[in-house]
Amino acid sequence: MKKLIIDRFEGKYAVCELEDKSIINVPKYKLPLNCKEGDCLIRDAEGMYQKDSETTKIQEKRILEKMGRLFS
């Protein structure tokens, strides 16, 4: 099992950040429908991708809190 975050979309790829902060290109067709930038994903042993909505929510909350303190 692997954890990924969609950093952005470029052409036919979702550019994803792995836990070690390296970047990989995942073909969009392999992803669940309606994925967006910032979505956290899980890749299972069979190479299937699923949205990890719970982790996405936790990440968003933490990042927004950090931004709130920094952005005037």
Binding site: R8, E19, K21, S22, I23, E37, E60, I63
Partner: protein
């Protein structure tokens, strides 16, 4: 003359002076001090460096004794950017702009913020959930820096030059690229237009808002993709020079043949970091020189 040859000339001059002095007073104790004299950037020159960071953006601007950085490439390019700034004798940065929170733009920013004192940080208020973005936020906090929001029309002084914020013109977008901070850098009668990854949607807003977009040098937004550099935008900017900051043989098809064709049709001189490495534009306020010849677009590239 590029910076390296200037430095070599300055050093040669220093050496000749030292040799003459040694002959004259017949003394070998004189230490050459040419190192200290080459550290100061000329006060009446503006240089814009499109640093080769592979697929991504990183732009160093030196204006007199002041300097700023726009973006810092991917995570693994942070050290490349830091080394480049050190080689350029940068001691501090007056401004750092993180155009938008995609890793190919802000990846190396944490390294830069850790290494150099920074006065003002400008970033759009849009979040990404990546560790890469969080690293930038964490360093900002550690350095007690706050973020200044880009407001269209705001003007900042950078030594003898200045820059005006020209994008983003809205506060909510579907695509993170459109939050890109865009600026027009002006030095006397020369100017540079730098708009991160802004797509034609953001370009359309700049046009609608009646912003004076005319510039001598245009960085083709979003690495020359087909989603940016619309024909109406190119016609409003009317650049003499265009530059693409892009990785060799990237899998995204950047720069796109449509963009290259639009550039060729208009007789704009093109420069590419993937083909030519770091591209440096030097302005004396009237004319702009480049550290390399322009890139000739091939027929093959237009047919992709």
């Amino acid at each position: 003359m590029n910076k390296k040859s200037k430095q070599i000339l300055a050093r040669l001059g220093g050496l000749i002076l030292v040799a003459a002095l040694a002959l004259f007073i017949n003394c070998n104790n004189t230490q050459p001090d040419s190192e200290t004299t080459t550290n100061t950037h000329p006060v009446d020159v503006v240089e814009v460096h499109f640093i080769d960071v592979g697929q991504g953006d990183s732009i160093l601007i030196e204006a007199g004794e002041n300097s700023m950085l726009i973006d810092a490439g991917e995570n693994n390019k942070g050290s490349v950017v830091v080394d480049y700034l050190k080689q350029s004798n940068i001691q501090k940065l007056d401004y750092v702009i993180g155009t938008h929170p995609h890793s190919d733009h802000i990846g190396g920013l944490d390294n830069v913020l850790n290494e150099f004192p920074v006065q003002t940080v400008i970033m759009p208020s849009v979040a990404n959930t990546t560790k890469t973005f969080e690293d930038v936020l964490d360093v900002l906090k550690k350095k007690n820096l706050t973020v200044t929001k880009p407001v269209v029309g705001d003007k900042y002084t950078l030594g003898p030059a200045s820059f005006t914020v020209i994008a983003p013109n809205s506060s909510t977008y579907e695509e993170m690229n459109d939050y890109s901070v865009g600026i027009k850098l002006t030095y006397k009668s020369t100017s540079f237009l730098l708009t991160g990854d802004a797509s034609s949607l953001s370009e359309e807003e700049m046009l609608k808002n009646g912003i004076d977009l005319s510039a001598d040098v245009l960085k083709l937004a979003h690495h020359g993709s087909s989603y940016s550099s619309s024909e109406s935008f190119l016609d409003a900017v009317k650049p003499t020079f265009a530059v693409v900051s892009v990785g060799a043989d990237n899998e995204y098809g950047h720069p796109h043949s449509k963009t290259l064709l639009a550039i060729k049709d208009r007789g704009i001189k093109l420069y590419r970091t993937d083909k030519q490495g770091t591209v440096v534009f030097t302005s004396d306020g009237k004319t702009i020189s480049v550290n390399t010849d322009n890139y000739e677009i091939t027929d093959n590239e237009l047919n992709n």
